[in-house]
Every structure is written in C-alpha cells, then in structure tokens.
C-alpha cells in the first residue's frame, strides 16, 4: 500500500525557527509538487520524511498515514547528486542493492540508463559527466529504488528544456501510483506533473487545485500553459 504523507508542526534548527507552525499533506499514490522561496525549508521537509532528521527539532508530528516507519519505504533524490566518485555510473545507479547486500539488477539498470539517455556512459566515472548528465545519473539511481514513497529535490534543475521534458515524462511514468513529493522552483514543471500543488511560505502551506488532466500532462497543452501563467502570477504576488 502506498501511504499518505502528512506533516503538522514547527521546525527549528538550533535556536532558529525554520518554518511553522504549518501543516501539509501529500496524498497516497499522487504526485505532489512543493514550491516556495529559497531557504523557506522545503529540503528540510524532505529530510524529515527521509528520516534524516539530525539537527532538526520538530514540534508536532509527521509521517505516513498508516503509522508505519518511513525510512525503509522511501527513495530520495537530494538537491546534490551525491554520486560516489570512485564508482562508475553503473556502480552508482545500482548502489542501493549493494547497500542492502542484494545482488544488483544490471539488466534493469541498463534499461533505466538507456531511458535517461546515459546508455553510452555506464562505464564512465561521474567526474567525466556534465552537470545535467550527473543529475540524470542520480535520477536513474532514484528510479532504480523500488519504493512506494519518492522524494525529489529539484531533480530536473540542471537539464535543458528538451531533456527536462523527456525526464519529466519518464519520471511520471515510472513513479505512477507512488506517493511523490517533488520540490521545484519551476511553475511549468508543477503545471505538468502535479496532481496537487503546494505553495510554501514560512508560516503556511497552501494547496492549489491542479490543471485538468492526469500527470504527466503535455507541456504545450493550453490548459497547462494557462495554469503555469496563473501559478507564476501567484508566485510573483507572494514575493
């Protein structure tokens, strides 16, 4: 079962209040986009859901709706690609299996690498990749993890427009039916992918009704573009 994620409370790092009190929800099996100004605490929310809460004091509660533990059900793509420089791309993409002492599924890894357009780069070290290629390697590593909850922190920020559109569709397909929480600064991306769109500020998170149609939507559909414009206006007004 894919769980719903929810969070309700206030986060501090040291003595500094980062955000809250506020509450949010990422519904089961849906793609939730989280937007908000830089430094507002989006990555902090992701770290909480990933179980990487060192240094964060959270007053309130957060977790999966079924009350089960989060950590073993989560896959996360952080803002940094976090590729291990001593492993080649294939080694990085199959890292999860090795971390759990399982046998890596190289056939599936090759398939995913082909789909992110890195088929010819499998044997290269990360240092030989461009920024966008590194980001796609990290995406491939995340897609390899077969987890019901997927946390994505600006996963497409380093990609050119065409590659970005392709990667959005790929991620949308591979992660269908999972609970996805996706941080982005890109209104067009949110318009394309979000089943739910959340706008975060220091003291609140507002949900915005998504455009019609199921995610991933066509990036050039009229409805998507209109929603993007409306979202942009909203973001500008907040700033």
């Amino acid at each position: 079962m894919t769980p719903t994620l929810s969070l309700n409370g206030t986060a501090h790092i040291g003595a500094t209040r980062i955000f809250g009190p506020l509450s949010m929800m990422a519904p089961a099996g849906a793609w939730t986009c989280l937007l908000g100004p830089s430094g507002v605490g989006k990555s902090t929310i992701l770290r909480l859901f990933a179980g990487l809460d060192e240094g964060i004091t959270f007053d309130g509660d957060y977790g999966a709706s079924d009350g089960g533990p989060l950590m073993p059900r989560v896959a996360m793509m952080a803002q940094d690609d976090l590729l291990l420089p001593w492993l080649d791309v294939m080694g990085n993409v199959t890292l999860g299996a090795r971390m759990r002492g399982e046998r890596p599924d190289h056939t599936r890894a090759r398939d995913i690498l082909a789909r992110v357009g890195l088929a010819d780069h499998a044997a290269k070290p990360p240092s030989a990749l461009s920024g966008g290629q590194r980001q796609r390697a990290a995406l491939a590593r995340t897609l390899m993890e077969d987890r019901p909850i997927v946390l994505l922190d600006e996963p497409f920020s380093a990609l050119d427009a065409q590659t970005r559109a392709r990667m959005q569709r790929l991620a949308g397909e591979v992660l269908r039916e999972r609970t996805v929480l996706h941080i982005t600064h890109d209104a067009a991306e949110a318009a394309r992918l979000g089943d739910q769109i959340l706008l975060m500020s220091r003291d609140r998170i507002d949900a915005i009704a998504p455009p019609e149609g199921t995610s991933p939507r066509a990036p050039d559909a009229e409805e998507t573009l209109r929603f993007e414009a409306q979202l942009m206006r909203r973001l500008m007004a907040d700033a």
Binding site: R47, A78, L95, G96, M99, G101
Partner: protein, 245 residues
C-alpha cells in the same frame, strides 16, 4: 623528462663542486672523501653494501606493511566504536609525545639485536601518522553520502565498507606517504643502538675504522632506498586515491 634532466644536471654540478673543494682545500680522505673515491668504494664494496642494504630494506618494508595494516584497522576501530575512542584516543595522543627514536634502546632490549627491534621502530613510525590521517578522514565523510546510504537501507557495516572507507582512502594514503620517508631513519637508528647487520651498522663500523668513503657509499645507498620506497608508496597512494579526490 625536463625535471629529471634538470635534477641530473644539478647533481652533476654538486658532485663537481664537491670534488673541486676536496682537491683545492686539500682535505684528507678520512674527513671528506672525494666523490670519485666514494664511487670507487661503492663499486668495489658493492656486494658488502648490498648485503647490508637488503637487511635494512627488509626491516623497513616489513615495518611499513605491518604499520600500515595496523594503522588501517586501528583507525577503523576508533572511527566505529565510541568506547574505543574514549579509551584509546588519549593514549594515542599521549604516545605522540614520546619521540619514537627515544624508544630504540628499549625496543632493542625487549626484542633483541636482530631484525625485529628495527621492524618495530619502522612500524611505530608508520603507525601513528597512518592511524591519525585515516581516522580523521573516516570522521569527515560527507553527510549527504551517509544519508543517501541510510535511506537506501544500509546498516552501519555497509555504510563503513561502501562509503566511509572508500571515501577516506586518500587520507590513508597521505598518512602513509608522510610516514614513509621517516621509516628508514627509524630502522637506521635501531641499527645504531644495537645490530650486527644493516646499513646503519655498516655506517657505524666504517666510521669506527675511519673508512669515511664506505660510510658515504652506504649513505648514498640508503638515500636511494628511501627514494625508491617513497616513489613506490606514492604510486600506491595515487592508485588508492584514484577518482576519490
């Protein structure tokens, strides 16, 4: 290639200067032998020198391998166990205040005049820098990598094996590289304190018999030995650090 050429030219210039100085100043050969004489001695006593060099080389090499291995495991123990840290780190810091060279007489007393007291000297000289450099590196693993591994479901052992150790190998290599130059000195001092074989013993013997040319010849062989060792360890370190920095 150009740097090698330049160093050779520098060495040649230095040797000429030395030879000239000895001739011009009329220094007796038991004070400063001319390089030509040292070269002759090096050639004619080659089997004698080689025999002793082999001993010193073996002492240093065994000390290096044991010291590096011990440092490797000790650093991991310190990095993984809070208890080990609490007990052993103060001891480690305290032991750093004792100059290893001052231990030579004691080691000779305990381990005898043979190979092992010198191996112990080299080992101790290697052990501390390797332990502390590798330990520091193990404690500095980037947070993000550890977080990623934990989210993937790795336990502490796998995080250590797949992330912390590989990420810290450059630290291990730099500790080893730093220590390697000093290891032969440790063995030599061990030999001065008490030995019947080895380059240090040979130098002392030659000195006692005013065979300064033989002493210089042994010294040159020691320098070459150290250089070769350093080059080998450097290569090994670079291989270890490949892609990690």
């Amino acid at each position: 290639m150009r740097t090698i050429g330049r160093s050779l030219a520098l060495i040649a210039f230095f040797l000429l200067l030395w030879e000239g100085l000895v001739i011009v100043a009329g220094l007796p050969r038991f004070i400063l032998p001319p390089p030509s004489l040292v070269a002759q001695t090096l050639w004619f006593s080659r089997s004698l020198i080689a025999e002793h060099a082999l001993i010193t080389g073996a002492e240093v090499l065994i000390g290096l391998v044991l010291g590096a291995a011990l440092g490797f495991f000790f650093a991991i123990l310190l990095a993984t166990s809070r208890t080990a840290r609490a007990i052993l780190r103060p001891a480690l810091v305290f032991s750093q205040t004792v100059p290893v060279f001052a231990l030579a007489p004691i080691l000779t007393l305990w381990l005898g005049y043979g190979l092992w007291s010198k191996v112990a000297m080299a080992l101790l000289i290697i052990f501390f820098p390797v332990t502390s450099a590798f330990y520091d590196a193990l404690m500095r693993t980037p947070e993000g990598w550890i977080g990623l591994a934990r989210v993937m479901g790795a336990n502490r052992g796998r995080i250590l094996w797949h992330v912390r150790i590989p990420a810290a190998l450059p630290g291990f290599a730099s500790g080893l590289r730093l220590a390697t130059v000093y290891a032969p000195i440790g063995a030599i001092i061990g030999e001065w304190v008490g030995a019947s074989r080895g380059l240090g013993y040979l130098m002392l013997l030659a000195n006692g018999r005013a065979k300064i040319d033989l002493m210089f010849a042994a010294l040159i062989v020691l320098a070459i030995l150290t250089l070769l060792l350093h080059a080998a360890v450097d290569r090994f370190g670079r291989w270890l650090s490949q892609g990690r920095i």
